[in-house]
């Protein structure tokens, strides 16, 4: 079941058609999915304060309902080391269309994966796992399953990926914690099952995975047509 807080978040997203990163991360955080420590600062003053609370180095990203692909407009800075660099970044992105502040968050490391959800026309909710983060569309190395997912589905998805070896430790790199990755996928699929009447698709991209576990480094929730237009659940999935 979605909490009232989650439903409110989805409703707020209707204005733009999608949930921006801090909104999506807020929703996932409230469902106990792993997100980095983050803050949404609306102006420079707030940015500096939040940065002090999180601690340098950190990641800063532009927040704007008009910017879906942040890195394509120079809206992401990784490894900001001090107030001076943060000020510079703020000045650079505050002129972007629809600027609504900065997202500041702790640094995370790991192999870049994508986890996604989509309401498929013929099969309803499907879950995707892929290798590659930002370059995922070049490799197209993804595994797809119809939800709900069992742990053995997740296992077979990992097995299906051509680059699956990367996750088991390759040429000295540490192996990804597959149990925690599987947990994230199963929990994500369970949460999204309740969101089906409201959404079109979700990207967790990248999901950064290491030996320690996984963290959702970026997220976006695209809302469904019926919900956008009417504010109501899509009756195909509720009736």
């Amino acid at each position: 079941m979605l909490t009232k807080e989650m439903m409110d978040m989805l409703h707020r997203g209707r204005k733009n058609g999608w949930l921006m990163e801090p909104e999506a991360k807020g929703l996932f955080a409230s469902a106990a999915l792993p997100v980095p420590r983050f803050a949404w600062a609306l102006d420079l003053q707030e940015s500096l304060q939040s940065a002090a609370a999180i601690g340098y180095p950190l990641v800063a990203k532009v927040v704007s309902p008009e910017v879906i692909h942040k890195s394509e407009v120079g809206g992401v800075a990784v490894g900001i080391a001090d107030d001076r660099q943060l000020r510079q970044f703020y000045e650079k992105v505050s002129g972007l269309p629809g600027f609504t502040g900065l997202l500041l968050e702790e640094m995370a490391a790991g192999i870049e994966l994508i986890v996604g959800a989509k309401i498929d026309y013929q099969f309803g909710l499907i879950i995707l796992l892929g290798i590659g983060g930002t370059s995922v569309e070049i490799y197209g190395d993804v595994a797809i399953r119809m939800a709900p997912l069992t742990p053995s589905d997740v296992h077979s998805m990992l097995h299906e990926l051509k680059g699956g070896q990367l996750l088991s430790g390759y040429r000295g790199s540490a192996a990804v914690n597959k149990e925690k990755l599987a947990r994230v996928l199963v929990d994500f699929a369970e949460l999204v099952q309740d969101m089906v009447p409201y959404i079109e698709s979700i990207d967790l991209n990248p999901l950064l995975c290491s030996g320690e576990g996984c963290v959702i480094a970026d997220a976006r929730i695209m809302l469904g047509d019926v919900f956008l237009k009417t504010g109501e659940a899509d009756s195909v999935f509720t009736g």
């Binding site: 989509k118 099969f123 499907i126 993804v142 119809m146 079109e200």
Partner: protein
């Protein structure tokens, strides 16, 4: 809802026969069933009268018999009234051949049919379809029999969204010796859809393999279909058309872009244990293999026997390309295999797998090799590349080798060039339920599907 009257009717009313047009679909359907099928067949036209000396009833209610199946071929606007009358007259089922519904934008007219039928739980197939062909039972296809190529009766059921593709598949089934239990063209699938047919065919004792040609499911419809198919006791094969159309929705997320319609379709089929045939060639091969070996599940370790090194090499390539393995036999196995061969080829045959008996092999060498393969634990299926032009073998070999299969139960798949000259050899296999492929590639498809059939 009972679908049996659609598939095994005792009595059929063909509604909409024409007094003036012999080629009218209803006339073709009426006469082919009247003359060639063991069903009581009645013609109906509102004007009554007679055609070619056969009485035409003015309505289905006027027929002095209870009707299991009404075949409706009147103009679209009259179909709702005819359907209502069938329900009033206690007809058990219907097939609506007529077009002129959703396929030309007449969604309301089609919705009207569904509402009439669902009120009475009255099963009807179509509209805009050919209906059902069941060898020796009934045939509602409006194609003159002399123009059709009809496969023999067998245990493969085919459900198709396209009538044209279905008729074409029957040609291919007939050519490859695949027998069918029934072929169902569902057209616009307004009421009876894939899911109900899957449920019916799963329980149908005449059907052993279930095939669907699918262009697309309605919104969210595929979900219940694959979930039901996963519980099916029989192999379910799906051929999907429209693999390249990637949906029209604006693609705003990576997931939406990566999870295109066909990619999702193929992944979900595999997840639920359905077998996807990527093209007609695979489909026909899969049907033949699964029809012969419905209960066999192999890991895919193949032993290959041929009379030519080139055939063996090509088969190995195709096997490995298809994810099958061709394990090399141990020295001990090779030695005992060699000892079982006739003296004339004992020193020249290759026995490591693939086994090349050479062009000098005689009939008993093939028998000995297959007998030996049945005992080799490293392999779980046998691919036999028959070269019927070799001087040492006769047309009896097919039947003789089939007996070896029957004794041991290790699946045997043969390749024989499909020309009339070799027909007796081919039938020797096929009539004894050993599948015969018309190409090496198809023989490998037949082998690999035995591995993919997860639940049978």
């Amino acid at each position: 809802m009972n679908l049996s009257p659609l598939f095994t009717p005792q009595s059929v009313a063909v509604i909409g026969v024409s007094a003036s047009n012999d080629r009218h679909p209803a006339n073709v359907i009426f006469f082919k069933n009247l003359l060639r099928y063991p069903v009581k067949t009645y013609a109906v036209n509102v004007k009554g009268g007679a055609i070619d000396g056969e009485q035409v009833f003015p309505s289905v209610s006027a027929i002095p018999d209870s009707i299991d199946l009404a075949v409706i071929a009147v103009r679209a606007e009259y179909v709702p009234a005819v359907l209502e009358e069938c329900i009033r007259a206690d007809v058990k089922s219907a097939i609506v051949i007529s077009g002129g519904f959703s396929e030309v934008g007449q969604d309301d007219l089609q919705a009207g049919l569904v509402s009439i039928a669902s009120g009475a739980a009255f099963p009807f197939v179509g509209p805009n379809c050919l209906g059902i062909y069941s060898p020796g039972v009934v045939d509602t296809f409006f194609l003159p029999t002399e123009r059709m190529v009809q496969p023999e009766a067998g245990d493969v059921a085919v459900v198709s969204q396209s009538g044209g593709i279905l008729v074409d598949l029957l040609v291919k089934f007939a050519r490859e010796g695949v027998g069918i239990s029934s072929a169902i063209s569902i057209g616009n699938k307004a009421y009876i859809r894939e899911l109900q047919l899957l449920e019916f065919l799963d329980d149908d004792p005449r059907t052993g393999v279930i095939v669907f040609y699918v262009e697309g499911f309605a919104r969210n419809e595929g979900r219940a279909f694959v979930q039901r198919a996963a519980k099916c006791r029989k192999p379910v094969i799906v051929l999907k058309a429209g693999k390249t159309s990637e949906g029209s929705a604006a693609v705003s997320s990576h997931t939406a872009s990566l999870a295109g319609d066909y990619r999702v379709f193929a992944s979900v089929l595999a997840q639920y244990g359905l077998i996807e045939a990527r093209n007609e060639l695979e489909l026909v091969s899969f049907c033949e293999a699964l029809s012969c070996y419905p209960d066999t599940v192999i890991k895919g370790r193949v032993g290959i026997i041929s009379g030519s090194g080139g055939h063996g090499a090509m088969a190995v390539d195709a096997c490995v390309g298809g994810g099958l393995s061709v394990p090399r036999f141990t020295e001990a196995v090779q030695q005992s295999l060699r000892n079982s061969l006739s003296e004339s080829i004992r020193t020249i045959a290759s026995v490591a797998n693939p086994v090349d008996l050479t062009g000098s092999a005689v009939e008993n060498d093939f028998i000995a090799a297959v007998e030996a393969f049945c005992e080799i634990a490293d392999i779980d299926s046998i691919l036999l590349l028959m070269l019927p032009y070799l001087p040492g073998i006769s047309a009896d070999l097919g039947a003789r080798l089939s007996k070896v299969y029957r004794r041991h139960g290790k699946p045997l798949i043969a390749y024989v060039p499909h020309v009339e000259k070799y027909r007796m050899l081919i039938e020797g296999f096929e009539l004894n339920r050993v599948p015969v492929a018309s190409s090496i590639e198809s023989a490998v498809h037949m082998t690999s599907v035995l591995r993919r059939c997860r639940l049978c």
